[in-house]
């Protein structure tokens, strides 16, 4: 069996769905945060796949997508750094990382 673009897209779609479901259903902020990273990595995977299967006339893959992947990785790293710092600050103040306990603002 040869791997086609559809196989990659299927895995990437699964990753994205798992990530999104995790954000919606999980109650621990750290877990939610990991699920968010999963969503970004789903996009990375399909970007690389699209790039690999999008061969130009010169026989090279389209590198635009791979450049974008590097930017996504960098931005995700920055986001994690800031995000974890905020979560740590929250934990120090409240001794909890569960979303039910974060309710000082009225809905």
């Amino acid at each position: 069996m040869t791997l086609t673009l559809n196989h990659y897209l299927l895995v990437s779609g699964l990753l994205f769905t798992i990530g999104f479901a995790g954000v919606m259903l999980r109650r621990n902020i750290i877990t939610i945060f990991m699920c968010l990273e999963l969503m970004l990595n789903a996009a990375n995977l399909s970007l690389v796949a699209f790039s690999r299967f999008n061969v130009g006339p010169d026989g090279l893959p389209n590198f635009n997508a791979q450049v974008l992947v590097f930017f996504i990785i960098t931005v995700a790293a920055a986001e994690v750094a800031v995000g974890l710092a905020i979560i740590v600050a929250l934990y120090r103040a409240r001794q909890t990382t569960h979303v039910e306990d974060i309710n000082s603002l009225k809905f």
């Binding site: 931005v75 995000g83 905020i86």
Partner: protein, 509 residues
């Protein structure tokens, strides 16, 4: 006009300024950091002046410059970003006494340096976004803005509300980033391009003649309308979070209430302007594809109607002024979306309405938040009753607030009225009558909750009689903003002439 500098020198200067401010925060000997903000205000004001001497015509785009294009509208939005940042820094100076209570273990004046330098970085992100014509630069600029906001919203580390707002903004902001990236991925997969003009080219040719991009080897994907719609909807969801459109607006009231007030003002102006700039750019591409244009417009119309109704009706019962402004900012996103809906039929009118509305919205929002900060500091709270009898304590502030509120409501002779007029004009010209009816109900509801604020200021007795002192810089900012609201409400030509697209403006591929 003489054009001596490339436009990117503006962004580079802003970035250098931000880095210098971080160094000053780390190494400056004196404890008081407030002079940093004053220097930054001076530099940013000078940059607004310089922006009139930079290149404003589109040039040949090659190499790195393919990401970046300059035209009159882009320069106009750069000036908006600079002006907003200046006012936010003025607010931050006014707010620093409150801020200090909630930062652990510092002496007076210390630890606030980042609070002045992060808005400068966000400003650079906004300015890049105004010129971004490639999804890569759009993404990076948008994230520069968003990540800066994560830090600013949660800046008061000893204040539970600020932290909580920070966490909520972080989770929902990151979620919208995920949607945006996945949407961009699918658009790339369909077209093989990240540059907006190239995407437009590929989509318009690819959907009329599928064989045109068949040689790219994407199998059954090209010309696939469902896949294209999937990508577009993901991007629209992501931008819906940024502009606070229903049904993605749930984070707004909490985050606006919890964040430090200058950050709330910056969020409601900067984040919204960023979202709408990108939305206009992106829709320009997608609406050119006849196969999906109708569906996208219908989707936007539903979003606009829901946003208008939700924002205006829930604002009716709010007693906290920051929360009231949060709902009002959702409502204004609805009016802006209404102009966006008209883009498929009347692109020129709609873009003019969006640009003008954003400019006016900026003036009145910044003015009302600036006054809110001053009053909240002296009344120790930002509930509606803290504004009781403001006319007796400070007629100047009460009058300025009346101007801002009247403009937010859309009373004639203010810039808010002209903005609403242009929005309705675009909507009528494109014939969205159901949406117009909903918007009229929304405007009427808007009048009610805005007038509650004015009534509290003029017809209630003050709770305390202490007079309110205004710093000279804040007084100057209030005078300029209030004057601009009235002046542009009577004579809007200075802005209209800047945002009018020149009739012959074919952008180079």
């Amino acid at each position: 006009m003489q054009q001596i500098l490339p436009a990117i020198s503006l962004e580079v200067t802003v970035l250098i300024l931000g880095v210098l401010m971080l160094f000053a925060e780390a190494f400056a000997k004196s404890a008081d950091r407030s002079h940093m903000a004053r220097y930054a205000i001076a530099v940013l004001a000078a940059l607004i002046g310089f922006s009139f001497f930079t290149q404003s015509a589109p040039t040949e785009l090659t190499g790195y410059w393919k990401f970046y294009s300059v035209d009159a509208t882009a320069l106009f939005f750069k000036r908006i970003a600079l002006g907003t940042t200046i006012v936010v820094l003025v607010m931050a100076l006014e707010y620093r006494h409150v801020l200090q209570k909630y930062i652990p273990g510092v002496e007076a004046g210390q630890g606030t340096g980042e609070f002045y330098s992060l808005p400068v970085f966000i400003c650079a992100g906004l300015m890049f976004m105004a010129s971004a014509v490639d999804f890569i630069l759009i993404f990076v600029a948008l994230e520069l803005v968003t990540i800066g906001f994560y830090v600013l919203v949660a800046y008061m580390r000893r204040n539970m509300q600020s932290l909580e707002a920070g966490v909520k903004y972080l989770i929902l902001g990151a979620l919208s980033t995920g949607f945006l990236v996945y949407g961009i991925t699918w658009i790339f997969g369909l077209t093989g391009e990240t540059h907006l003009d190239a995407i437009k080219h590929a989509l318009t040719t690819g959907f009329t003649a599928p064989s045109a991009i068949a040689e790219k080897g994407l199998g059954g994907l090209q010309g696939n309308e469902a896949a294209l719609l999937f990508g577009i909807v993901l991007i629209l969801i992501a931008l819906g979070f940024k502009i606070a459109a229903a049904p993605f607006q749930l984070w707004v009231p909490d985050v606006y209430q919890g964040a430090p007030t200058p950050v709330t003002a910056f969020l409601s102006v900067g984040s919204k302007a960023a979202g709408f700039i990108v939305l206009v750019r992106v829709l320009d591409v997608f609406l050119a594809v006849p196969a999906v244009a109708g569906k996208v417009t219908a989707l936007l119309a539903i979003m606009a109607a829901a946003t208008l109704l939700y924002g205006n009706l829930t604002a009716l019962t709010q007693d906290n002024l920051k929360r009231l402004f949060a709902y009002s900012s959702i409502a204004h996103a609805g009016y802006l979306l209404m102009a966006i809906v008209a883009m498929s039929v009347q692109p020129a009118l709609a873009k003019e309405a969006v640009s003008f509305y954003l400019a006016g919205y900026l003036l009145m929002t910044l003015l009302s938040f600036l006054i809110l900060i001053i009053v909240a500091r002296h009344s120790r709270g930002d509930e509606l009753h803290h504004f009781n009898g403001l006319a007796k304590r400070s007629p100047f502030l009460a009058f300025a607030m009346t101007i801002a509120i009247a403009s937010l409501a859309g009373v004639p002779l203010t810039v808010g009225f002209i903005g609403k007029f242009l929005v309705f004009k675009a909507a009528i010209a494109s014939g969205h009558w159901a949406l117009i009816c909903i918007a009229i109900v929304a405007v009427a509801a808007g009048f009610y909750y805005y007038i509650r604020v004015i009534a509290a200021m003029y017809w209630q007795q003050p709770n305390e009689s202490a007079p309110i002192v205004i710093a000279p810089l804040s007084r100057l900012a209030i005078l300029i903003l209030g004057g601009a609201i009235l002046f542009l409400g009577v004579y809007p030509k200075p802005i209209l002439s800047q945002i009018k697209e020149p009739p012959q403006a074919p952008r180079q591929q």
